[in-house]
């Protein structure tokens, strides 16, 4: 079973890596978006899925990553790689500084505090001249979608390997312990503050890299699109739809939902958003533990799987 799964993952990776060789421009562009969303969903998975802290601040990390690249390239004429470094630095420092007070909050309060952070950032950045205020910044274009595709895929592999390593390490077990019961974890000797802040920073690192790549690819950024809270909601939806707290679930969720929303918005322009919302509602009610749990247990239980989920969570 283990070998079979490994083989499937490798085969999927080969197919994904070969897309630029045979895919159309539209497919490659769709792929870049979907892969970057998958990276973001994985980044959220570290703090939300494994540690159990429903962060709405990951779009801030993404935004800082985009602005790191944009400021370095558009304002200072530095190479892309240095921009990525700057973005990561900004995001990680932000995560470390704000993580300490904000991660003391639990549950809904943490969610709302990070939501407020995300709301504040767009307004602050739109008042900074270096960041182009509310007009935004234009980056030098690089018309090489295939390169961006491979960058995005490489980043996805990196974040997934990190999460895989995490899931089998002392650090990862610590995070899971915090998710299940933070007080018990602390009593067992887990340095909860340190673990949470590190998880937040790790999450920030990958989100910022995804933002940086997206900024260079799209060549234009402004505060509204860089610090977009709906992007954060998308990450959460994709991670939870696929299976938060699993190694591959968020990727599955991101790719499936990206495809669904792409098809919908081209076929049923009027009701695409409506249908997307309905899919979310249905998914949360019928398969609250995501696609990975569904694939594991649907065969054994059949339709009773959905009934049992409802029974487990209803009043």
């Amino acid at each position: 079973m283990k070998a079979w799964r490994l083989l499937a993952v490798v085969a999927a990776l080969v197919v994904l890596a070969s897309v630029p060789a045979w895919g159309s421009d539209v497919l490659v562009q769709f792929g870049i978006n979907a892969l970057l969303l998958a990276v973001l969903a994985q980044g959220w998975n570290i703090i939300g899925g494994y540690t159990g802290y429903p962060s709405f601040g990951n779009s801030v990390f993404y935004g800082l990553g985009t602005y790191g690249v944009a400021i370095a390239m558009a304002q200072w004429h530095l190479p892309f790689v240095i921009g990525l470094g700057l973005g990561v630095l900004l995001a990680v420092v932000f995560a470390l500084l704000l993580g300490v007070p904000v991660l003391r909050l639990r549950g809904h309060y943490f969610a709302i505090a990070t939501l407020a952070l995300a709301g504040v950032m767009a307004a602050i950045v739109s008042n900074i001249p270096l960041a182009g205020q509310n007009i935004g910044l234009v980056l030098p274009p690089l018309n090489n979608d295939r390169l961006f595709y491979l960058l995005a895929l490489g980043l996805l592999v990196a974040v997934t390997l990190t999460i895989w390593g995490l899931a089998h390490s002392r650090f990862g077990y610590g995070l899971i312990a915090i998710r299940e019961n933070e007080d018990s974890a602390a009593a067992m000797g887990v340095n909860t503050t340190l673990y949470k802040v590190l998880a937040f920073a790790l999450s920030a690192l990958f989100s910022a890299l995804a933002g940086g790549i997206h900024a260079y690819w799209i060549t234009f950024i402004d505060p509204g699109s860089a610090f977009d809270i709906t992007l954060n909601v998308q990450m959460i939806i994709m991670a939870v739809f696929g299976g938060a707290g699993s190694v591959l679930g968020p990727i599955l969720g991101a790719l499936v939902l990206s495809a669904v929303s792409e098809v919908l918005s081209s076929e049923l322009t009027h009701v695409a958003g409506l249908f997307f919302g309905a899919v979310i509602v249905a998914a949360v009610v019928l398969m609250p533990r995501g696609l990975t749990d569904l694939t594991r247990r649907l065969r054994a239980l059949g339709w009773r799987y959905f009934a049992e989920n409802i029974r487990a969570n209803r009043l």
């Binding site: 939300g48 429903p54 007070p101 904000v102 003391r104 909050l105 549950g107 809904h108 309060y109 969610a111 709302i112 505090a113 939501l115 407020a116 952070l117 709301g119 504040v120 307004a123 602050i124 739109s126 008042n127 509310n134 809270i229 909601v233 959460i236 939806i237 939870v240 938060a244 009027h270 009701v271 958003g273 409506l274 997307f276 919302g277 309905a278 899919v279 979310i280 509602v281 949360v284 009610v285 609250p288 409802i310 487990a312 969570n313 209803r314 009043l315």
Partner: protein, 287 residues
Amino acid sequence: MELLAQIVVNGILLGGLYAVMALGLALVWGVLNIVNLAHGSFIMLGAYCSWHLFHYLHVDPFLGLPLTAAVLFVFGYAVQRGVLNLIVRAPMFNTLLLTFGLDVVLADLAQLAFTADFRAINPGYAGSQWQIGPLVVPLVKLGAFAAAVVLTLAVWLFLLHTRLGRAIRATAQNLVAAHLYGVEPRHLYAMTFGIGMALAGAAGGLYGTVSQINPYIGASLTLKSFAIAIIGGLENPLGVLVGGLILGVIEALTTLYVGPTYADVASFGILLAVLIVRPTGLLGRTA
């Protein structure tokens, strides 16, 4: 000095309205432990309900409030009974996600039904204002403020002194114990959510008289409601009223002295500061 006084008056008038917006959110959050990301969309639906009553049936927006609230109550009761009750015991971000999905559905349905055009409820007395010394008080805003204060006090008295209000408070404290004393949780949850959404609907009707509405106003109203509920705490409607007034005045002052782009920074900054320094709300304990 006169300008400052005028700004504070404007802030207070707006703050009363903010308070009613947040009241339903705080009630649902405090009692059902559901953070309703669709709250703003319910406010939006209330605003459209009031607009339709005014535009087609020429019902005065203030007199139409009970009807709007009743419509939203029924809708809220049905949503809780049919959907939200199914996931009440699920992990927190599942409830967040579900209400977000609901928000998307409501906003898109509203766009299909009412188009994305901006609407406003403009009764004949919309332009009237009172001159009190150097201060100008627009009649509509004063009416919205007065209605907001009355509603807040009514909710407070209702929770304290009625049988249903006591059942709601008992459930907020201990669901199992309340159940043992004869509270039927599915019905009570739906009643609570219905009342919360009736308040959201009334807030929407008032909002429509002081501002323009479209199907997508919900998200920012949800965020504001959060800020107020956090500042005021979840336990006491009077706390929410104070929270709304604080936010209204701070937004007005920031807009004047720092700049309109900083109004949201100020309100969310305060929200953050309150959460970090005093996570139980400025007044009293949160649930």
